[in-house]
């Protein structure tokens, strides 16, 4: 078990641990491996120059870059849709209101006096309409 106690890192390093880490992280020693890696890198670059290949990570980074603007655009779209629907409702309400308050042809009897009640100070259009309806 003493050996296990040796498996510690000190600020000065560790005589037993560092060689183990060097072993774990050792680069391949075979020269052919490096020739192969160089070929793969150059093939990748050649393919990139011809526009044949993009690295998977490039796609991820593109998606990551688009994520924030995409969310912002979606939020704007949501707000715009909300405003549009809200205005649509308002327009519909106003149309209904005008249909109710507008004088009909039947009301326009010959000789009838068309009374228009102007809103007084502080009175709303709705109150004016109410008064108009009562006066008929």
């Amino acid at each position: 078990m003493d050996d296990r106690k040796d498996l510690r890192l000190t600020d000065e390093g560790d005589e037993r641990l560092v060689p183990l880490m060097r072993e774990l992280y050792a680069a391949p020693a075979d020269g052919a491996y490096w020739d192969g890696l160089e070929s793969r890198v150059m093939s990748l670059i050649a393919a990139h120059r011809m526009g044949v290949v993009r690295l998977q990570s490039s796609l991820w980074s593109v998606l990551e870059k688009w994520a924030a603007p995409g969310l912002a655009a979606a939020a704007l779209l949501f707000v715009a849709a909300g405003l549009f629907l809200s205005r649509d409702d308002e327009a519909e309400l106003r149309t209904t209101y005008e249909e109710v308050t507008a004088p009909t042809v039947v009301d326009e009897l010959p000789g009838a006096v068309h009374v228009v009640t102007a809103p007084r100070d502080g009175s709303s259009e709705r109150e004016a309409t109410f008064r108009y309806v009562l006066s008929h």
Binding site: D3, L9, L20, V41, S57, S61
Partner: protein, 181 residues
């Protein structure tokens, strides 16, 4: 002494690469790939991921070559790009690699060889460290980079790299204690 001064051909290779001659960049790859691998390997968890990070890093370097200042050392510039590629890859594959490693690693109690046991426990502890902590330990203790060089690679001040190293060692020590228990 700069890389360019140490490697008299490097400047020429950079010049060729900037002119679009593939032999220039191929020469730079040949010259720097071992160091690039060590930098990537210090950050990611597996040899295969280090290979991917090296390839991606070289491609990024190629794409950004026009922004490289030929008066500065190419190796330091490249190492930073490689480190960034490795950090990106490590973040993407963090969970998957942790699962693969824990499945692939032999249990300390199943392996009678003491070195294998210690290696497995160390590998387990290193895999549990955050990328930056693992990177500063390996880059410093295994690869022999200075705090300033590590800081430059990881985009942090040299002093931060030094304090990161101290904290990373403390954390690794704690993990090894836990594993020992």
């Amino acid at each position: 002494m700069t890389d360019a001064a140490r490697n008299p051909d490097e400047r020429e290779l950079v010049g060729l690469a900037l002119e679009g001659d593939p032999r220039g960049f191929a020469g730079l790859v040949r010259m720097h790939q071992r160091r690039a691998y060590s930098v990537a390997r210090a950050i990611v968890l597996t040899h295969e991921d280090a290979e991917d990070a090296v390839q991606e890093g070289f491609l990024r370097a190629y794409q950004a070559l026009a922004t490289f200042d030929p008066g500065k050392p190419f190796g330091a510039w490249l190492n930073r790009i490689i480190a960034n590629a490795a950090l990106d890859l490590a973040r993407r594959k963090k969970v998957r690699n942790a699962e693969e490693l824990s499945d692939a690693m032999p249990s300390p109690f199943r392996d009678p060889a003491e070195d294998a046991e210690l290696r497995a426990r160390l590998q387990d502890a290193l895999a549990k460290l955050p990328e930056r902590s693992r990177a500063v330990i390996v880059l410093h203790d295994v690869e022999g980079f200075t705090h300033a060089e590590i800081g430059e690679m990881l985009g942090i001040p040299g002093g931060t790299a030094r304090s990161d190293l101290h904290h990373a060692r403390q954390r690794l020590r704690g993990l090894l204690e836990n594993l020992r228990g």
